[in-house]
Amino acid sequence: MTTLAPARLVDQFELGLAAPICLTWELTYACNLACVHCLSSSGRRDPRELSTRQCKDIIDELERMQVFYVNIGGGEPTVRPDFWELVDYATAHHVGVKFSTNGVRITPEVAVRLAASDYVDVQISLDGATAEVNDAVRGRGSFAMAIRALENLADAGFSDAKISVVVTRHNVAQLDAFKALADRYGATLRITRLRPSGRGADVWDELHPTAGQQRELYDWLVAHGDGVLTGDSFFHLSAFGQSLPGLNLCGAGRVVCLIDPVGDVYACPFAIHEKFLAGNVVADGGFEAVWQHSDLFTELRSPTTGGACARCSHFNACRGGCMAAKFFTGLPLDGPDPECVRGFGESALRVEREVPKPAVDHSRSIPLMVVNRPPRRRCDENPLSEFG
């Protein structure tokens, strides 16, 4: 960081930027997997999904705004038939691409293609360092699929893929194993926080790290933080002591936001709910208009008081934690994070509270059963049969 003036950058960022630093763009809600903790409750494609043309218009706008790169996700973004066309279009227009995938389309041929591009980063999602731990969350066969993708990338000479891990109660003991796995494939480990967002709300109680594990995680980050990416995910743990690398603030609507598959703009990738919906790129005059002028983002950029946390001696370290984690556990936004390291979140969770219902859900329902019953009338099979 280039430091000149004594003013803290964080204070500037709280007031928002002309364009986001970190923009997540979920290209589709369609997904071949059905991870139990999916942030975006993905599964089925939304029929209103943006067209190729509309996506390219967004990229043109991002280029004009100098959004240097986008984090593309989903759903499983690579199942969009125009996925590679959009990746090429973005990089040709000075918008770098980092995309997250479960690996389903990372064949040896695709890996060779990716290795030839200078401006594409690939993140393979993996939530266990063993098939047993991973597949319990991401579905049977998903560990083998991710490993195959990593092998294909390594064989093609793709350097520095990322292995992206959501830290849970069941994999927090595997951090060293994840690191070893990343090293084996010449990849970088990226670990992020489990959010109670999307389907994550249903499993958060059982899957989020215990208080003891949070401390373990913090110590591990302090020891290994330099070689591991976190997307600034664990800033609430900074209250344990020394501040973790990164901005250590909630960037929602200030330096971060999410564009969803239908063009809705949310304050952050973990907040797909109408309460955090700033506008729509198609209906509200484009992304720049939403980013710069929406009422929600203007409000998020006004100085925060810290509410119940303001008097806490650790407030400057954690800034009250994650807005989405509070919202989806039914805690007040100006109070402690549910995983507050001083335990204020735990006591807040014991009080009666109302957990908001997910507003957007594309989960696949129970698979349709084929009914095998002989037709009783000819017109059961063909309503026009009488008119032949």
């Binding site: 960081m1 280039t2 000149l4 003013a7 002309a18 240097f68 200078d118």
Partner: protein, 93 residues
């Protein structure tokens, strides 16, 4: 977004320019620099340093670019430019 510590003295008498893979985006507090090759982001925390960085290739030396921007605290700015050179944001022209 890591903090970098300069190891070398910055050569104030050389001509410098932004690395061809670096983009500069102005913000109210200064600017962001993004290096498409190293994927690193840096922040220019005041408008004077933005002016200096933009003007570097038009001057035969960094010293002259600093003088043209009216900078008197050369040491402070020299350190900032050294950090940028270390992270390959700036290269010799």
């Amino acid at each position: 977004m890591e903090c970098a510590v300069s190891t070398d003295e910055f050569d104030l008498d050389a001509r410098w320019t932004l690395h061809p893979q670096v983009a500069l985006r102005e913000e109210s507090f200064g600017a962001l620099l993004y290096h498409f090759g190293t994927r690193r982001l840096s922040f220019l925390k005041d408008v004077t340093v933005v002016e200096v960085v933009r003007a570097l290739p038009d001057h035969s030396s960094a010293r002259s670019a600093l003088a043209a921007a009216g900078v008197e605290t050369i040491d402070m700015y020299s350190k900032a430019l050294a950090v940028l050179a270390d992270s390959q944001m700036l290269v010799r022209a």
